[in-house]
Amino acid sequence: MADDAMKTDVQLPVATDLKKPRPKKAPDLPILERRNWLIHLHYIRKDYETCKAIIKEQLHETQGMCEYAVYVQALIMRLEGKIQQSLELFQSCAILNPKSSDNLKQVARSLFLLGKHKAAIEVYNEAARLNQKDWEISHNLGVCYIYTKDFKSAEEQLNLALQLHKHDLTYMMLGKIHLLQGDTEKAIDVYKSAVEFSPENTELLTTLGLLYMQLGKYQKAFEHLGNSLTYDPNNFKAILAAGSMMQTHGDYDVAMNKYRVAAYSVPESPPLWNNIGMCFFGKKKYVAAISCLKRANYLSPFDWKILYNLGLVHLTMQQYASAFHFLSAAINLRPRMSELYMLLAVTLTNLDDADNGRRSHEQAVLLDESNPLVNLNFAVFLYNQGDKKAALLQFQEMERKVNAQVENNSNTDFDPELVEMAQKLGTALQAGENLYWSKLGKDSKTSQRSSSSKPSSSQQPLGTNQALGQAMSSAAGYSKSMQITSEPEADVSSAPSPPTVTPGEPEDEDEETAEPAKLKEKKSKPRAAAE
């Protein structure tokens, strides 16, 4: 046995043996694949240096005929970024063994990485002919089709891949296609089934939560984001999303707790510091709020949302000159947003620049489509200017918008300050008592409001107060609308407060308490909501 085996290891060139006169027995030739296992073992352990050395030796011994060695070498090259060379090696593998779909798959993969999607699709189709039932081929074909913008074929292939074998990655791609086509509902369906299949995948959970948020289904969003945070308490996206949701519910302390985790892992994120700043704002720590917002602004100077918030906070702080700069910067970046013009108008009014204030209000009303606050503020402005007629017009426009919202049922919860202010103005203008506020009276809150609101406020206070009210409201509205990039959190254990149960009611409660307190500082005031 020893004899026999001894020869197995002889790798001498055959020629030297041949020189011996008539050897009795031919030497056993080394098997080409004999070191494949060793190559594989080093490859999967990511020990690429050793792996390359073994491959080199093996290729030298077999003169490049060892398919697996070439294959792994190509894989390593691709990992090292030498995609073109790896493509060539995979092609030579495919020549050595034209029947293997693996080789073709890798050729296609390299083509894909080189951005040659059409060529990749062709090769994948060829591979699919060799191996009908391979989810990987279907999945990658789907991905290639996405890049060639052929969404229909992509969807078809990805669904095929899911039939063959379910993988999180395929679900994600399929969801992405629906999102690219703007079909959020379908995307949600895909992510839902993905979450069913793989309930612990935090990426899927977070994406699904964010999609629900976009659709305004905050409870469901909160649920999924909360699950995601249970499995991975450090998930940055989920923390931001969940935190912003808590913020809108006035749960500033819990939100801050979450943000601390995020700030530790991603200390330089502009949206994170923006949200932290607005948390401080909600807690009335204005100096801290400005600090955080300024950091966010430093990190991302062209983000209009941060500038908007900075303008708002400065407006609240009665630093009108600074507010003006931040708001005009925001308008330069985002020239078609009515709320920005409205805030600018309020600022200008406070800077005694009524002419420009009026122009800014006009611009805001022109751009706005559905926000009654814009018209209310303009009406208040006009009333303070003594132009009752125009004020009445704006007031009626506001009524129209409110009624439209009530009819569409989109949002019947108006900010109590908006209601209060509107009622005061209505009384002053002798209009509107008979209109919607009576309708809104159905809301228990509104009735409370009306009772608490002062009979009829003098004209003087209205203006200044209104600005503040506005500021506050847009703060709330702002944090809500802007956080689409970032978002809320829902660690159920850490957030035992009602938000999960009924978002509507408690939220308003919180805001009420927060806002009026502030207003008192400056004198009681009305407030409008951008819900």
Partner: protein
């Protein structure tokens, strides 16, 4: 280095040597950083080779990876014996092969297409994998060659034709023949033609399976996986093939449980990234687990399978291939082993990581971490000497580490997921604001209107001033860029030297897309008391678009008072008195004269 005694009583000795790591659950029994071992978990076994109740460590050492392969046996801290292996060992198992007394287990070393069986550390038997079916066409061709009916060149052509379209791959001989230079071919044919064509494959993994009893030392069959995707079960005494199964890919890792005569289950990880589960009565895989990345190591824990993957994850699956859990690891997995302490009823998975740590996982919960001086490449846990809880590891650098589990060690099975992350208690780094800031805020509050107006006023003035300066510059062609559409020119000037002579270089560029500029001239205006110039006026050649034309001239400073002045440069067009471009060069003080 500590010395290790094979008896458990001497635990106290270790304790005093390791007092610095008293909190550790392990005693450092032995560490040899230069043991020169190159091996994998599949090539390590603990076995009572001599039937004396003392377990030895048997290692199949890959040597340099090319030569010097050894079968090494360690007892305690020392090397007991060493014998040469003929080829790289793929796997090594210790198995009871018969019922003869004394009951000493045999060692099977898989290497290439062979299994070498050792008893009492002596070669006992060599098993060769059955040859694969050879291509009949290939056989025909070679038999023609044997009878000298065809010459080597024709043979080569025919074999090449076969290689490209044959269903069955060619044998090594033909492939080797095709690699040869033409002059070597004839000898090769002469040498080999008498032999029958054989096509062989190699063993890629090996395991053991109890034959018909569940006892610890019951006779076991060998289970081997081969490169071409077959799994064989061998009879332990006659070494005949009892059962053959086939897989869609090459097996790389294998775990076997059950008894051959009753029911068994072979879990095989394959090179295509899938795990297949084979059972008795079915020559094809019963279940398939498709992983998202390659499996690096596979361990069975009770009825579940734990797989470490290249994507730094650890997955748990049931016997039927249903996914139970996933744990995320901080570094790539290098190897894994089962940690089984039946006396304590404790089972866990040891996971070697590329960041020089070994993690102990119970299901998805990390229960302990061991730091190692080097990356661990193989792990083996079991009875060594007479100590039950011994952990043996080899490192990438060739070291050998032996640790003994303290009898007092407790693995508390805490749930790693509970509790908020530590970061939550770290204070937010909110920038502080000074008193000055607050004062300024108050000032702004009081004077916002005035500040705003002043700002707007100044802003308007600034804009006006800027606009005026711009218009003036345009009117007097003071800019370094020509505003004229017909002669778009750019110029900059560089002054070199310390004085009293300076070199003045003007770089002129025509920035037009395609039109050349002609008939230009340059003149200088300077204080003649201060400076002199060899040529204060010269013509510029035709300017080709895009090219940079450096024009040099020399300036002599006449003053020794350390003063300097401006030299004005004008680019002029013939026939026009207004310059196209003007540049003001601030001359440096001439240091040459100042020094004198």
């Amino acid at each position: 280095m500590l010395c290790m005694s094979s008896t458990g009583d001497s635990g106290g000795f270790f304790l005093c040597s390791c007092s610095s790591v008293a909190s550790s659950k392990w005693l450092d029994a032995h560490y040899d950083p230069v043991a020169n071992l190159y091996t994998f978990s599949s090539c390590i076994a603990l076995s009572d080779l001599h039937g004396d109740g003392e377990n030895k460590l048997v290692v199949g050492d890959l040597g340099t990876g090319v030569c010097n392969m050894k079968l090494k046996v360690y007892r305690g801290t020392g090397l007991l014996s060493e014998s040469t292996l003929l080829d790289l060992p793929t796997g090594l198992v210790s198995f009871p092969m018969d019922l003869h007394e004394p009951r000493t287990p045999a060692i099977a070393v898989a290497s290439g297409p062979f299994i070498y069986v050792y008893k009492n550390l002596r070669p006992y038997f060599k098993f060769t994998l059955p040859s694969l079916e050879a291509n009949p066409l290939e056989q025909d061709v070679w038999s023609q060659a044997k009878e000298d009916m065809i010459d080597p060149m024709t043979l080569k052509e025919m074999l090449e034709g076969l290689r490209d379209k044959a269903e069955i791959p060619l044998s090594v001989r033909s492939l080797r023949f095709l690699m040869l230079e033409p002059q070597e071919m004839e000898n090769f044919v002469l040498l080999h033609k008498e032999q029958p064509i054989r096509r062989q494959t190699v063993i890629t993994c090996i395991g053991t399976l109890k034959k018909n009893m569940a006892d610890e030392d019951a006779v076991s069959c060998l289970v081997i996986g081969t490169e071409n995707g077959d799994v064989y079960i061998l009879d332990p005494e006659a070494f005949t093939i009892l059962y053959k199964m086939s897989l869609p890919s090459t097996p790389t890792l294998m775990d076997v449980t059950g008894q051959f005569d009753v029911e068994f289950r072979i879990t095989v990880a394959c090179r295509n990234g899938n795990i297949y589960i084979l059972r008795r009565d079915s020559p094809k895989p019963k279940y398939c687990i498709e992983l998202s990345s390659h499996p690096v190591a596979l361990v069975r824990m009770g009825k579940n399978v734990v797989v470490g993957c290249t994507h730094e994850t650890l997955h748990g699956y049931t016997q039927k291939g249903k996914k139970l859990w996933t744990a995320y690891l901080p570094a790539p997995v290098t190897t894994m082993a089962l940690m089984d302490l039946p006396t304590r009823g404790f089972q866990a998975v040891l996971v070697g990581l590329a960041n020089c740590e070994v993690h102990v996982y119970r299901d998805k919960n990390l229960v302990s971490t061991i730091k190692t001086p080097d990356v661990v490449t193989s792990i083996c846990f079991g009875r060594y000497g007479r100590e039950d809880g011994t952990l043996i590891m080899t490192t990438k650098g060739g070291g050998l580490i032996v640790k003994i589990l303290k009898r007092t060690a407790v693995f508390d099975d805490r749930d790693s997921a509970s509790g908020p992350p530590i970061a939550q208690s770290i204070r937010l780094n909110v920038p502080k604001k000074t008193k000055l800031y607050v004062d300024q805020t108050l000032r702004e509050r009081e004077n916002a209107v005035a500040m705003h107006r002043a700002f707007q006023m100044d802003l308007s003035r600034l804009r006006l001033a800027a606009a005026r300066a711009y218009v003036k510059a345009l009117e007097s062609s003071l800019t370094p860029m020509s505003a004229s559409l017909t002669e778009p020119l750019k110029m900059n000037a560089v002054v070199q030297g310390l004085g009293p002579s300076f070199k003045l270089t003007l770089n002129i560029q025509n920035t037009a897309a395609c039109r050349p500029v002609m008939n230009l001239a340059i003149s200088f205006l300077y204080d003649e008391n201060l400076y002199s110039m060899r040529t204060a006026f010269f013509k510029i050649p035709l300017l080709v678009p895009g090219l940079n034309y450096p024009i040099d001239t020399f300036v002599e400073c006449l003053s020794d008072k350390g003063i300097s002045d401006i030299i004005k440069v004008f680019v002029l067009r013939e026939g026009k008195s207004a310059p196209l471009l003007t540049a003001h060069i601030n001359m440096p003080v001439s240091e040459g004269i100042a020094l004198n």
